[in-house]
């Protein structure tokens, strides 16, 4: 990878100005997965026949397992806990009934995810009924309130650490929109009141509660019945909470998975439009390469002592190359120039890089056709407006977004971040949704534009002089068009999680191997390469015909034959090869004239000339470079003397 991944993920916090505006973003997450395990969660989720065994419970478990895997790779310092409620058995520190905290060895209840946790959790369904069991926790005639208990347990788990340096979340998975529907009267209102109070207490402690409803095929999940009050939704937000009653299980999974992610913004950006008027934007890294190897900087690789397998501590020290003296971090840098060293202080260097304020400044607009395919250097950054600091930002942003999108224009701006000040293009992206939810969020993508220093003109390297380059004729283009139609990937998409067309194979394999080793499995896992072309599809007669037609049209009838002849001609014509061959041949002839063994035994090799020595070397295809002594010793070694 050409760029330092740390640079991309870092919060660019070295800029004191931005730090001032930036509310402290916590970097670590503490998450409690609170999963409803009532019998209702085990009814098949859809009526469709092809996947009738998939209950909401199964969907939730597989989503959480997937999320844990992502966490262990990307944010392995996050701490998680998995907690079921409406269970037959109970297991929790408070000894409350109907709540079961799932855990494995060598791990606290709320702790970093381990390979073993993921493995055992993925298989939990096999043993769930026998070991944990499912039953309704809130029934009339009993004063037990399993939801209340569950929130209590979760809150107690999250008491660890301070909210200053960790984000604390409870993710509540359920398909019951009216948990107190079975009971009536004063008990009901009382229970609702206490449960909501419990949730509010948790929220006041800085814990956010998020609801991830999985709906049933026939009914919508109605948040207004109870949960709106519990998680504190206002009327406006409720409309966003409508879960589509999708029949397709994959869609439900995709929706759940998307909701489980916490949006982490990388930066807050001030976008100045004109005359000192600025709005506030949040920047998100929606697309960043996940780099498995050579990840030394972020600590994915550490050095171990191969004897004890314990991690090693590295100590850096700076040493003066001239005197060997130990020095503290030197304050100055130098660049050789004009036979001398030109010295710079760090302040001067950062002053040079400061060509603008840290803001994003609008320069103007251009039609989208001005943005060429080669105007790219790094992954894009997503921008979404933010009304927290400056009210009215969103309105201006939406107005500009709509205009740009309708007029097919993009904005050119200068982003003066201290790390890499750059000209950027801002492209308005309209929202795209599918049955699995939002595919592309609405907002703007910020793309770093190259400078003239960054653009190369390789295509002009081999320009024909005083001649026009051949161009395809209409017939050839037509044949190519037919081919294009035949080899069409209809629904190609890079980003549908539910349907990962493209997986980073090297990464998959990397972590599959790590997981196997971490668990002590002997078998090395096999990972299938999904990126190879569809050979079967390519071998279909229509495709083959189109290909053949096209080939004849651009290459002519006898291409393969000509190519073979060309190759044959090449191998005989090559001058250098001929010469080499000739040398070896003469060497072999000449070589036969000498009694090499005798010469070597009598130490008479040194009396021969270098040319003579080289006969032996060439004839035995040994290197002929070096001084006479080197040649002699090489001959002796070869003869085994």
């Amino acid at each position: 990878m050409d760029f330092n991944p740390e640079d991309l993920f870092r919060d660019d916090d070295d800029d004191p100005e931005s730090e001032y505006y930036q509310g402290r973003e916590s970097t670590k997450e503490f998450v409690v997965y609170l999963v409803d395990a009532s019998p209702r969660m085990f009814y098949p989720a859809s009526n469709a026949e092809d996947n009738k065994d998939e209950s909401p419970f199964h969907v939730v478990v597989s989503c959480i397992a997937q999320s844990l895997k992502t966490q262990i790779i990307n944010n392995s310092y996050d701490e998680v806990s998995i907690c079921f409620f409406n269970t037959r058995e109970k297991k929790n520190l408070q000894d409350l009934s109907g709540v079961y905290v799932f855990n494995v060895n060598e791990r606290e209840y709320l702790d970093r995810p381990t390979a073993r946790l993921i493995k055992e959790f993925s298989n939990i369904e096999e043993t769930f009924m026998s070991e944990i069991g499912s039953q309704y926790g809130i029934i009339s005639g009993s004063r037990e309130n399993s939801l209340y208990n569950a929130l209590w347990v979760a809150q107690a788990l999250l008491r660890k650490g301070s909210t200053k340096n960790a984000d604390k979340r409870i993710l509540l998975f359920t398909n019951e929109d009216d948990p107190f529907g079975r009971i009536k009267g004063a008990t009901k209102t009382d229970m609702i009141r206490t449960t909501i109070q419990r949730a509010k207490d948790a929220q006041d402690m800085g814990i956010s509660i998020e609801l991830l409803p999985s709906c049933r095929p026939t009914e919508e999940f109605d948040v207004s019945l109870f949960y709106a009050d519990l998680i504190g939704l206002e009327n406006v937000d409720q409309s966003q909470f409508i879960t589509s009653t999708s029949e397709k299980l994959d869609d439900i999974k995709a929706q759940l998975r998307k909701r489980m992610f916490k949006k982490r913004k990388i930066k807050r950006i001030t976008f100045s439009i004109a005359n000192g008027i600025s709005i506030e934007l949040n920047a998100y890294a929606l697309i960043r390469p996940t780099v498995p190897v050579n990840f030394y900087l972020s600590g994915a690789i550490t050095w171990l002592d191969s004897v004890t397998n314990l991690p090693l501590k590295s100590e850096r020290s700076s040493i003066c190359a001239d005197t060997g003296a130990l020095i503290q971090e030197p304050a100055r840098r130098f660049h050789p120039y004009r036979n001398d060293n030109v010295l710079f202080t760090m302040d001067e260097l950062s002053e040079i890089k400061k060509v603008s304020t840290g803001h994003l400044r609008l320069l103007g607009f251009k039609p989208l056709s001005c943005l060429k395919d080669y105007h790219n250097l790094r992954p894009s950054t997503f921008l979404f407006p933010n009304d927290e600091e400056i009210i009215g930002s969103t309105r201006i942003f939406i107005a500009l977004h709509r205009s740009m999108s309708r007029l097919k224009r993009f904005a050119v701006a200068f982003y003066g971040s201290s790390a890499s000040p750059h000209l950027v293009a801002l492209i308005a992206q309209d929202e795209i949704t599918s049955s699995s939810g939002q595919v592309e969020p609405p907002g703007m993508h910020m793309i770093n534009l190259p400078y003239s220093d960054d653009i190369r003109h390789a295509e002009e390297l081999h320009m024909a002089i005083d001649a026009t380059a051949p161009r395809a004729i209409d017939d050839q283009i037509k044949k190519a068009s037919v081919l294009l139609k035949r080899v069409d990937l209809k629904d190609f998409s890079v980003c549908q999680f539910a349907n990962p067309v493209v997986l980073y194979l090297a990464l998959q394999r990397h972590y599959a191997i790590l997981e196997a080793l971490a668990l002590g499995d002997d078998e090395m896992p096999e990972t299938a390469d999904e990126t190879v072309p569809d050979e079967e599809g390519m071998a279909r007669p229509v495709v083959v015909n189109a290909l053949e037609d096209y080939k004849v049209s651009v290459y002519g009838e006898n291409h393969d034959q000509e190519e073979a002849e060309n190759n044959a001609a090449k191998s005989t014509i090559s001058d250098a090869a001929k010469k080499r061959k000739a040398i070896v041949e003469t060497a072999v002839q000449e070589c036969a004239n000498y009694e090499w063994a005798d010469l070597a035994d009598n130490g008479k090799l040194k009396d021969l000339t270098v040319t003579e020595l080289k006969y032996y070397l060439s004839a035995h295809s040994l290197p002929v470079a070096g001084k006479k002594e080197a040649l002699i010793s090489r001959i002796l070694t070869h003869m085994g003397k």
Binding site: D204, K263, T270, Y284, L286, I287, T290, T302, W303, D305, N309, P311, L312, K313, A321, D322, P330, R332, R333, F334, H335, N341, V342, L343, K353, V355, S356, D373, Y374, L377, E388, I390, I391, I398, S403, P421, L423, L449, P450, D453, A458, M463, D466, T468, A469, P470, R471, I477, D488, L489, F492, V494, C495, P500, L505, A506, Y511, A518, V532, P533
Partner: protein
């Protein structure tokens, strides 16, 4: 000549029409030489000026003619002196003939290197090509161009030709310009010549690649459409970020008498075991550990080699898809270019036909690439057609890397349609935005595209190398402020802003921005984090009452720091100060200050603009006093003001008061007021009478 060594002759037009351009040409050419000094020290450079008063070149001595062409420097290995010479280009007085200059430059190269030595030879011509070239002694101008290009071709010379023209005064000899352009095009067709037209100073600075990087292929081999059909291609980098140079750490430990000191700093890393911090673990006893959650899995490099993913080198087509399926923001990295194998007509035709078909049908190709044997991963990317605009350059493809599913984070964002109504722009606002997006145009018709990436230099690098040159002469120099030409890259063009002032003002007046006073960072309750719709509406209502729509725009920075009311933007300053909540003092201070300001303005009320500003301030004060429930402050002030006006016969001001209907604050507007609605109206009548009496 060494393989990558280049001989370059700069042909610089210094004729009268070029004088305004000389500062940029000086910067560009000295930057070019400076980079050679750093990155390719053995390159050779010569400089020819034309359009000069004098004549000094070998050809004129040998055969005559070639007037007004001066060889400033013969072809020699780059050194420091040449930069100094390029920094002070003389202003010429004569008409400049670029063809003479080309011939002189070519002659220098031929004489220096002869017919046998075909290293890299380049001419770089910077001119405005506005002066007619002289009629040759024999044949036509075209014949001369043909002769020159034949010579160039036989010696393998390349020409970079930069034509600088901007805002031509009238049609400054259109015929000459057209003729010259035709001649240059003829040259470019017959030789390896690239002609670039630039207009602005900024794009002149970016018109030439100042650092030569010898291009290297990433891949040479087959682009496999299928096992049946392959196309021979070479892959190069199209873009690659030129980084800020890495500077070495400087050690000042060596004695100053040591002339051979390197002053470098070596970094030494020692690995020590955790239990025994004294013990250094030797390299052979170390093993790599890979993190997996809290566990660290030790894997030796040999083990890793055995299990790791090892794909075969190949570039294969996965299929074609609609261009609209690949969003522009998926492009992950720098861009590659696929060119057909040079000289291979079949490959050129195959690429050309495929590219043209893709362009016609608006399709792109998805590829799976393994550039090198032993590369640890595969790359999935998109191939887009690049149809050549030059006759002698074959068609090619651009290649962009696409993300894998793991690289994409699918965050959910609310639809704009679902956001509260108060966050949605209304029709007028949308119209103002449309106008802004159309009018703030960087692609004006009939002119060059502003800030085209291909012609825009990196301001940071530009600044660094200039400072390097400065510091090498004056070690104590401070970093100079950013250059005007570079400012056009980092800041909006003031000319464009002033041309569209009304559009921008209209846009800004349509929208109101407000610092959120209720932002409470300590509360983390989810529904409090965002300002909810209800309190947004309340604020909107307040604004309506006070009718301060048009003036309510405040900037983030000013509202944070306003501590006194200035004369430039008194109304904004006042409003910002009234909104400061860090101390109750601010409101009374704001009221006090603006009163003083109004009285001061009236002192000098002979200027009409002062009167108008005073009225505006008074209006702002009135609104502020209503908002802050301070009606008495205002009413008392009005009385004083009335008295002052009456005493000093400030009729004009009183008339303005009338026309704006500024009167006392009544009970209905603010409860604390002791003025009734009627009294307020009477006050206006009183003013009217006074203004007439006087």
């Amino acid at each position: 000549m060494a393989r990558n060594k280049e001989a370059l002759v700069l042909l610089l037009d210094v004729g009268p029409s070029m004088h305004s351009r000389l500062p940029e040409i000086e910067k560009l050419s000295s930057m070019l030489v400076q980079k050679k000094l750093i990155y390719s020290k053995s390159d050779e450079v010569g400089v020819v000026l034309f359009g000069t008063e004098d004549t000094d070149n070998e050809l004129t001595k040998e055969v005559g003619g070639y007037e007004h062409v001066v060889v400033l420097r013969h072809i020699r290995v780059v050194d420091v002196n040449i930069i100094d010479a390029l920094r002070r280009l003389p202003k010429g007085t004569a008409s400049s003939d670029f063809l003479d200059a080309i011939v002189v430059g070519m002659d220098m190269l031929i004489k220096k290197f002869g017919p046998t030595n075909k290293g890299k030879q380049r001419l770089c011509l910077i001119t405005d090509a506005l002066c007619p070239i002289k009629e040759p002694y024999e044949g036509t101008k075209e014949d001369q161009i043909d002769m020159v290009s034949a010579q160039m071709k036989s010696h393998g010379m390349r020409v970079d030709c930069i034509v600088v023209r901007e805002n031509l005064p009238g049609a400054a000899n259109q015929t000459v310009m057209d003729e010259n352009d035709l001649l240059l095009n003829r040259l470019s067709k017959k030789t390896a010549t690239k002609v670039i037209h630039v207009e602005s100073a900024t794009s002149l600075l970016g018109a030439l690649r100042t650092r030569n990087i010898s291009p290297v292929t990433i891949f040479r081999g087959d682009l496999e459409l299928s096992p049946l059909m392959k196309i021979k291609v070479w892959v190069y980098k199209k873009t690659s970020e030129e980084k800020f140079p890495t500077l070495k750490q400087y050690s000042d430990k060596a004695p100053s008498t040591d002339r051979f000191a390197t002053h470098e700093v070596k970094v030494d890393i020692e690995y020590k075991s955790v239990q025994d911090t004294e013990k250094v673990v030797p390299p052979e006893q170390r093993i790599k550990g890979y993190r997996y959650g809290p566990q660290v899995v030790p894997i030796s490099s040999a083990e890793w080699e055995a299990v790791k993913f090892k794909p075969e080198k190949s570039v294969k087509l996965l299929g074609f898809t609609d261009a609209s399926n690949i969003m522009r923001h998926y492009y992950m990295k720098d861009v590659n270019v696929f060119i057909p194998e040079p000289g291979n007509t079949k490959a050129i035709l195959a690429v050309s036909s495929l590219a043209r078909a893709m362009k016609e049908m608006n399709k792109v190709a998805i590829l799976r690439c393994v550039w090198r044997q032993g590369q640890g991963n595969v790359v999935i990317g998109v191939l887009t057609p690049n149809l050549s605009t030059l006759d002698n350059v074959p068609d090619s493809f651009y290649f962009n890397v696409l993300p894998f599913a793991e690289d994409v984070r699918e965050f959910q964002f609310p639809s704009f349609g679902n956001l509260p109504l108060s966050w949605q722009p209304n029709e007028q606002q949308q119209e103002a935005a449309d106008k802004l997006v159309m009018m703030l145009d960087l692609m004006p018709s009939g002119k060059e595209e502003v800030l085209q990436p291909d012609l825009t230099p990196n301001p940071v690098l530009e600044r660094f190398y200039r400072f390097l040159e400065l510091k090498s002469k004056h070690p104590d120099a401070d970093v100079p402020p950013i250059d005007r030409t570079l400012k056009w890259i980092t800041e909006p063009d003031p000319e464009l802003l002033s041309q569209n002032k009304s559009v921008i003002d209209d846009f800004l007046n349509q929208f109101e921005l407000k610092e959120n006073p209720k932002k409470n960072k300590s509360s983390r309750r989810l529904w409090r984090e965002k300002p909810s719709a209800s309190n947004e509406e309340k604020e909107g209502a307040q604004n309506d009452v006070s009718d301060i729509r048009s003036n309510n725009l405040i900037t983030n920075s000013s509202s944070l720091t306003v501590e006194k009311i200035g004369k430039l933007t008194p109304v904004q300053d006042f409003e910002a100060m009234m909104q400061r909540r860090d101390s109750p003092e601010w409101v009374s201070k704001a009221i006090r200050d603006i009163k003083i300001l109004i009285l001061n303005l009236l002192e000098n009320s002979l200027e009409r603009s002062n009167c108008e500003m005073a009225i505006e301030c008074l209006g702002a004060l009135r609104r502020g006093c209503i908002l802050e429930q301070e009606p008495k402050e205002f009413n008392q002030f009005m009385q004083t003001l009335y008295k002052t006006c009456k005493d000093r016969n400030l009729n004009h001001f009183l008339e303005l008061l009338l026309s704006k209907h500024i009167t006392l604050i009544s009970k209905e507007e603010a409860v604390d007021s002791d003025v009734s609605d009627d009294d307020a109206k009477k006050f206006l009548v009183k003013i009217e009478l006074t203004s007439q009496c006087n």
